[in-house]
Symmetry: C2
Subunit: 406 residues, 2 copies
């Protein structure tokens, strides 16, 4: 399994594009992204758990009811959420795109991201659909353009592709993602569009997607807010030519492993690019009573505003980690907890059996000044393991979110 170039167009038979369609007033910002498959593909998606859902989610759910799709379209600059005519606009977008691509309007995954409660006009879509379709291509640039089209407060593109072998066939998975605020376990203001040329049934594709999301995007938190528009979708067009995966066989697990690699890589990228973040924080929990206890602890730690602030200040305030473990609702024996901070500068044990131990403040500072910190938590109470991904809390988070609408 190796990382390769070309993002969402790395898999065979996919094209992408991104243009400025005028949804945003800033003309230098790409605000519309499109990904298409040459042939109809198995497709699946997972959505936000928020009761308030963006209008495009309802349309996409309906379109994916049969398990197939051929295109993904997404605008940034407007979430198309809490608008009275939101569903109408999302449906109309699909109609216009279907006509331009000459495909069925039910074979489209549609998404929006940006400000909530701002009416979205259909005009930019009408005026620019043929332009975005005619510019579709399968080079790295095309994946990059689509990736830029879905960005909001993201400061960098987040795309990845991997190559692996199934049934002696060369297979690829590619993905682009956005999201840097309103990100919290059980999805985030995150959108992720995944493409693969693997041949797999819609049912097994959905199963693999859910499983991989549980260990990646659902273990990611930037600010504890679960957004209204989160969608992680995948199209699998089968052009790799492998024997179709239709049950939990070895090929399924190889595919799942590749998909997890893609999604965990992107989840870490998203945490690192969390709004205002200066560093990635990984909470790595071992030997919990159950996997669920490990998850609760890992998520609680990376969600603590106090710990996040301490990480920004490179302050080895391990008491805040222990405190977050204590209120995580996990079944934990506090007097068994060991803890260490680690980065590429070293490894430093700070707590043993729930009590502090003497440590070098100088080494602690050196370790915590790095931009990727792992908090290693050993609960010494079972075999459950989990990792969660977060970032530090900084002045810039407040700045970015103090006046997002203007």
């Amino acid at each position: 399994m190796e990382f390769v170039e070309n993002g969402v167009v790395a898999p065979k038979g996919f094209k992408a594009n991104g243009i400025h369609a005028g949804i945003r007033s800033n003309k230098s910002k790409i605000d519309l992204a499109l990904i298409t498959s040459d042939v109809k593909a198995s497709a699946a998606a997972v959505y936000t758990s928020n009761l308030v859902k963006g209008a495009p989610i309802y349309v996409t759910k309906n379109n994916l009811a049969d398990g197939y799709a051929q295109a993904m379209i997404c605008n940034s600059g407007n979430a198309n959420t809490c608008n009275k005519n939101g569903i109408e606009i999302a449906s109309e977008t699909c109609k216009i795109l279907a006509k331009s691509l000459n495909i069925n309007e039910n074979d489209i995954i549609v998404a929006s991201t940006g400000v909530i409660g701002l009416p979205l006009s259909i005009e930019p879509f009408k005026a620019h659909m043929d332009e975005i379709v005619s510019g579709l291509g399968n080079t790295k640039m095309h994946s990059d353009l689509a990736c830029q089209g879905i960005m909001t407060t993201d400061t960098r593109k987040k795309e990845v592709a991997v190559k692996f072998t199934l049934d002696n066939k060369e297979c690829y998975i590619g993905a682009i993602t956005k999201g840097s605020g309103m990100i919290h376990p059980n999805m985030a203001t995150m959108l992720c569009f995944i493409t693969t040329d693997v041949s797999i049934s819609p049912k097994m594709l959905e199963k693999a997607l859910k499983e991989s999301v549980n260990d990646s995007f659902n273990m990611l938190s930037v600010d504890g807010d679960t957004s209204t528009n989160d969608t992680c979708s995948i199209m699998a067009n089968g052009l790799a030519g492998n024997k179709t995966i239709a049950k939990e066989n070895d090929d399924y697990y190889t595919f799942l492993e590749a998909l997890k690699l893609v999604n965990i890589t992107l989840a870490k990228e998203m945490a690192k690019d969390g709004e205002g973040a200066t560093k990635l924080i990984i909470a790595e929990v071992k030997n919990a009573k159950t996997v669920n206890d490990a998850k609760l602890v890992a998520k609680s730690v990376i969600c603590s505003s106090l710990l996040k602030s301490a990480m920004f200040g490179a302050d080895a305030n391990w008491g805040r980690v222990l405190c977050a473990i204590g209120y995580s609702k996990a079944d934990v024996d506090v007097l068994k907890v060991d803890m260490a901070f680690a980065s590429k500068k070293g490894y430093l044990k700070v707590c043993e059996n729930g009590y502090g131990i003497p440590f070098s403040e100088e080494l602690a500072k050196e370790i915590l000044l790095e931009d990727e910190i792992t908090i290693k938590i050993n609960l010494n109470d079972g075999k459950g393991e989990a990792s969660a991904f977060g970032c530090d809390l900084t002045y810039d988070y407040v700045k970015i979110n103090g006046d997002y609408r203007s």
Copy 2:
């Protein structure tokens, strides 16, 4: 029911004092507080829900098992938590105080607040106990000194006292509190010491305390972290001379009402003084399906980092409120939600039936620039009501918590 002066010494038969005992290195900071009753009092306390608990909590729980106490002692500068000899130190503190006051060592409520995991020496207590006892008094200054002794990152003293009538007798409740970070529903790094001269059985006192805390401190969040040391304790010495409250009669409800007034007033003060906060945010929820749904919604809204940042920026981003309602886990019909922002500058409806409505951005800004904002949420779906208390998220929160230990 009226507000009066003198904090914890407003009720008859209470004395207080605060001194610098050398627990903190900063000599200008009072770090030890003491409150005593002339006679043994009914007593009760509620504690943090965190699995990691400060050592003093174990000692206080044990001492309150019989329902009586006569003194409250608290140091700041050190939480006495995650220290191997923590319980020993807390017990020894009680012994020294009991000797100095000539009372039973089991009649003492002991508490600590400050950094976690730092060993606490008994020496400052030994050296300064007679000094703090000999300085006890019942003037406003004495309550102020005790209040200063429990402060950590608090920027101002939080004390209150009310006067009311029970059984034709003049009664008082007084209280001091601390806490400005690590504050979250189900207690906070908050300590609250309440005194009253009402005569009430230990059982009814505990019941009233719990009930009042549920509507006040448990509806308060500054940063989503639940601390290890939270304790809200009360002593009722009976010197008002009312007929002892021993069941849920009218007198009990009058007392409960007074206690709620005290605790809600302090909860608001704490939110307003949240670390780095520039304003108090009240989420006022009406017509929820149940009281519990109302509480879930109110707490979810004041806990949203995105909304808190928007409030700092005086940005009427109501979509973030709706988003927080959506992930609150309350049973809510999103299409029935009405919402308005209010402050002393006015009242502005921004959302009706789950959709945005046009509003004046100028008036919104004017309203949101005030230092006390109410977000009025009408769920139009029942009769449940609740309010939660929070604050904005600011640069200073990050600054204060980026390097708290140094």
